[in-house]
Symmetry: C2
Subunit: 340 residues, 2 copies
DNA sequence: TAGCCCTGCTGAAACCATTTAGCAGAGTCG
DNA sequence: CGACTCTGCTAAATGGTTTCAGCAGGGCTA
């Protein structure tokens, strides 16, 4: 069984010392080794198919070209895989590789995951949550870099979040641009009922963006329905209540696509067609948004960009702070000019 | 900044040699070190908060307690994240951690990913594909273990696949159990048109399971519609054609849930209700299957179990070969006794 | 009392790359 | 000619763990 090729083998074949070979292969800048030496080492390495032993290298350098990704959930939502994919892609570009772990939100599992990553001397850790929130992060060995993905934390202040304020704003702008100025309802949230309820940092901003832009345009919601669990069935029920309250509803703003999915079903049952009778705008760009007929116009959660941004921040040297990534409006066909 | 605690520190504090400490902490079986020594070392390690330097250990042992996961796709389908989650969970149980990479099906990226993993001396690699197929796996360094997940390969014969034959069988059994014996149609596949087309290993088995069980029960499809891309819109179109061909259709077997989703819409439009007029059974247990009203009865692709099985096989010493994991029938409410 | 085994432990090599200090020789300057 | 610099390279230490060979000393047998 073929033994591994080591640096010494390369050096020997090139007629140089391992030290020289090391410097050359690592492209050290201000070394004084000859052109000639460079060539000999490089060809020797190529001929032998040399691959450095990363364990040995890490032992010396304490770097691993590896980053850790600690997430509370990986399988449940598309959101998670988008974040991971974004991180993977960016890591690949930076010649890093990523160790993925899942904690299920359990602090014990989280601690274990962090230990496992720190033991492997990852160059940095990304902490991701699926529902944006303040995240508890245990003390890390000094020198371990960390960035929060879709989360915030008072100590580790470098974080990546979707720009929900802008997203909320754009959703309303789009509706206004289509000519909607009245008979608009809000599905999913109601300030009266939820004054003190804490949903998440991002939901708060989303709703602020929405309301602020409504105010700026001088229009108001005709009715609002609060929904606790943003799943299709509850969207369906809430939409029915909204139709009862506002029979001439012309536009509905849904807090997310799953609610919109339910709303769509309720509208269809009442004989109201989208977008001819009622326009629909929503958030997240969930898978179902594309399945619906007509396709749902929605403000996307830019998972992949967020994941990518997180690794760029982890590896780069940007200033700490909140980094917002824009939420693009995905135009499909659920918005039209109001009837009549 | 606190320096790392090393094995020597522990040994010194225990008044023993590093060699002794190493053996004790690793629980070597037939060492002759005293009870007393064990205690001293263990308490010293605990007091100092000793954590072994894994880079150093790997350098010696060539093991890393790390496994590699190479997948063609991670973000696109729920399937991918299920596989990953299953693998993550099983790895965690076995005290391993997993390096996830994505290739997008590009052989160059795949080669790069494998290099990156091999360089990091992973204990084994899982190769996963989202659409089951024969997968090309480049030569690996001898001694690198590999298992194929949702894929097959002539050289690396350890693979895990869903038991589609059983899945197909169970779908039909369920329909029969409800009393369906005629006016049954198949949506998504048609032998006449697709005799020579290759879909994937698993689709082939799924359809075989279906047809074999139909034959066994002495019944036959009234009509079949082939669909190339298994997305809702095409399911919708195909269902319309099927209703035209078989106006008294009583049951439809859909090749997957996205098709079923489209079929559901088409049926609703024609005033046919599920399950009272028409029963629906399908495959995959996609997210949409639960969103539909009524909920879709479907034969699930057991992602997580498959992912978990893969790491068990990678780490254990089972015989090579194809390992099938059962596809559970998820009962919701799209099947009822045929009308009339 | 030599020879042997057994117990409980240690010394040192090995794993492999990186890095610092420094050496030999040639050339330059005053 | 001596001091100095510059060039092109190497020796050796370093990082932390595992593991093999073996040592010291006590007890036992012949």
């Amino acid at each position: 069984m073929a033994k591994r090729v080591t640096l010494s083998d390369v050096a020997r074949r090139a007629g140089l010392s391992p030290a020289a070979a090391s410097m050359i292969l690592n492209g050290r800048p201000d070394t004084r080794l000859s052109e000639e030496a460079h060539n000999r080492v490089n060809t020797a390495a190529a001929e032998l198919g040399y691959r450095p032993n990363l364990a040995a290298r890490s032992l010396r350098t304490e770097k691993t070209q590896t980053i850790g990704f600690v997430s509370d959930q990986v399988a449940t939502t598309r959101f998670a895989s988008g974040l991971i994919k974004g991180a993977l892609d960016a890591a690949e570009k930076a010649d890093h590789v990523v160790l993925v772990t899942e904690t299920g939100g359990d602090p014990r599992r989280e601690a274990a995951a962090i230990d496992a990553l720190v033991d492997r001397q990852v160059d940095g850790i990304i902490f991701a949550t699926m529902r944006a929130r303040e995240l508890f992060v245990p003390e890390l060995p000094s020198g371990t870099r960390a960035v929060l993905l879709n989360a915030t934390n008072p100590r580790y202040t470098t974080s990546v979040l979707p720009d929900e304020l802008q997203g909320g704003t754009d959703a309303i702008r789009r509706l206004c641009a289509a000519g909607h100025r009245s008979s608009i309802v809000l599905l999913g949230q109601s300030d009266e009922l939820e004054k003190d309820a804490f949903r998440s940092v991002t939901v708060g901003r989303r709703i602020t963006g929405i309301r602020r832009e409504m105010a700026r345009s001088g229009i108001a919601f005709e009715a609002e329905e609060s929904v606790w669990i943003w799943d299709p069935e509850f969207g369906y029920e809430a939409m029915n209540r909204l139709i009862d309250r506002v029979p001439d509803v012309r536009a509905v703003v849904c807090m997310n696509d799953r609610l919109a999915f339910g709303a769509h079903a309720a509208l269809a049952e009442r004989g109201l067609s989208v977008p001819d009778d009622v326009s629909l705008v929503s958030f997240d760009n969930d898978e179902v948004a594309a399945y619906l007929r007509p396709g749902l116009t929605t403000v996307a959660l830019p998972h992949q960009q967020m994941g990518a941004r997180a690794v760029e921040l982890l590896l780069g040297d940007d200033a700490p702070g909140e980094h917002l990534v824009p939420m693009p409006l995905i135009e499909r066909s659920s918005i039209a000019a109001p009837r009549g």
